[in-house]
């Protein structure tokens, strides 16, 4: 190797090492953080190890247990330092409970929620305060399981069973013949509801029932030349989204459903028939939708009798 080549190689090596130094420093910093976190956990895992009846160490298989990520918690981040519990300050047979997520009074539940919200504070949870679940004293751990790899409520296939533990009416409805594909695992409760609170009614994902339904059923949104008012107002006037025994999730079978609003002043009030004049015909069985095919709204510009016929 020539002299100038040696000089160039040495300079290149030096430059390379200078560049690597910050990387080593960063690695050292991370290692330090990991060791500090493990030392914190060790205070608890000294007693609560693999012999626990409910698995606790399995939290290290979850996102919460990724030690290389500085944002992840230690045991103390969620349960508090719990010094009375660690030292057994009373020297009694039963240790004092941990600061958070222990068997505690109802009044302490908001503290448990705060422990989670301190990190999980995105806009998806901004309506928690005052929401139906908050008012019913539900806390995060009523639905979520922290120490397991598979949090049932975050899995689309198992989530409904978690919700149905309290919402028993919906458990009965979702097995009815006309329903959303929840049993098949294609939909879950959280596709329509935000259990962490929302600006809409019944914890709807969007700001209203219609806005939530339109996210999938966008062909019903319009705008239409002729609008059917309930469609714009609230889909659940005619449908029960959790399941019914009538086709298309309808709450009752037409014409009975339709006649709840449309008083029998025209052909609805006539004797059921499949023949006769336009006002008297086709009221037999599910007759309404035979003619009023575009019940969610129509763009037909023709004014057939009147503008509210919802016909093609």
């Amino acid at each position: 190797m020539k002299y100038w080549q040696r000089i160039a190689a040495s300079l290149a090596l030096l430059a390379g090492m200078t560049g690597m130094a910050p990387a080593f420093a960063a690695d050292n910093g991370k290692q330090e953080q990991i060791e500090k976190s493990q030392a914190q956990d060790a205070i608890c895992t000294r007693c609560h190890d693999h012999n626990e009846q409910k698995p606790v160490l399995s939290i290290h298989k979850t996102a919460h247990g990724v030690k290389a990520d500085g944002r992840t918690p230690t045991c103390q981040s969620c349960h508090g330092t719990s010094e009375d519990h660690v030292k057994n300050s009373t020297n009694a047979s039963e240790r004092p409970a941990v600061d958070r997520f222990g068997p505690k009074a109802k009044s302490d539940r908001p503290k448990d929620v705060q422990a989670c919200v301190a990190c999980h504070n995105s806009g998806k949870r901004s309506h928690w305060q005052g929401s139906a679940h908050e008012k019913a004293d539900v806390v995060c751990t009523n639905c979520h399981q922290m120490h397991t790899q598979n949090d049932r409520v975050r899995n689309k296939a198992t989530q409904p069973e978690v919700c149905f533990a309290c919402h028993k009416e919906q458990r009965a409805q979702y097995t009815r013949p006309s329903r959303h594909p929840i049993k098949e695992g294609k939909m879950a409760c959280s596709d329509c509801h935000n259990p962490h609170g929302s600006a809409g009614p019944t914890l709807m994902l969007r700001d209203s029932v219609t806005a939530t339904c339109y996210t999938c059923h966008m062909e019903k949104r319009g705008p239409f030349v002729r609008s059917h008012q309930p469609v714009q107002e609230d889909c659940s006037i005619c449908h029960n989204p959790h399941g019914t025994t009538t086709p298309n999730l309808l709450k009752a079978r037409p014409p009975f459903l339709c006649q709840q609003c449309h008083e029998p002043s025209t052909h609805q009030g006539r004797n059921a028939s499949l023949t006769g004049t336009a006002t008297g015909a086709n009221t037999l069985a599910r007759g309404c939708l035979n003619c009023h095919t575009n019940i969610h709204g129509t763009n037909n510009p023709a004014n057939i009798n009147n503008e509210r016929t919802m016909r093609r």
Partner: protein, 116 residues
């Protein structure tokens, strides 16, 4: 023929077998049940099976007390009285009293510890 077992003899053998089975099941150690109870009651938070934690390892206890007279009764009394135990740093705490009040379960637990 003399070799044929009569009905009365067959009945006697059946009764004898049943008696043996009942007596053996009554005194048999249910190791799985004992370990499950130890987990349920949180015993294994302070005692390891084969390694010392805040309390001595169960194998250590077994080695110390196995074969000694009345040890089973003494250990049952130790468990149910909640008397003070001394820690390495010198402080004392009440020993945890199991929540179960079934004497058979506690006896089985002690027998399991002594069998280790």
């Amino acid at each position: 023929m003399n070799s044929i077992i009569t009905t009365r003899e067959l009945f006697a053998i059946g009764v004898a077998c049943a008696a043996v089975l009942v007596s053996s099941s009554a005194s048999a150690l249910d190791a799985a049940g004992a370990e499950k109870l130890a987990r349920q009651e949180g015993c294994l938070r302070c005692h390891g099976i084969d390694r010392a934690k805040d309390g001595p390892a169960y194998k250590e206890i077994a080695a110390k007390y196995k074969g000694k007279a009345d040890m089973e009764a003494k250990l049952i009394s130790h468990l149910s009285s909640g008397r003070k135990v001394k820690f390495e740093d010198g402080h004392e705490e009440e020993h945890k009293i199991p929540k179960t009040k079934d004497p058979e379960q506690i006896k089985n637990l002690i027998q399991w510890i002594l069998s280790l």
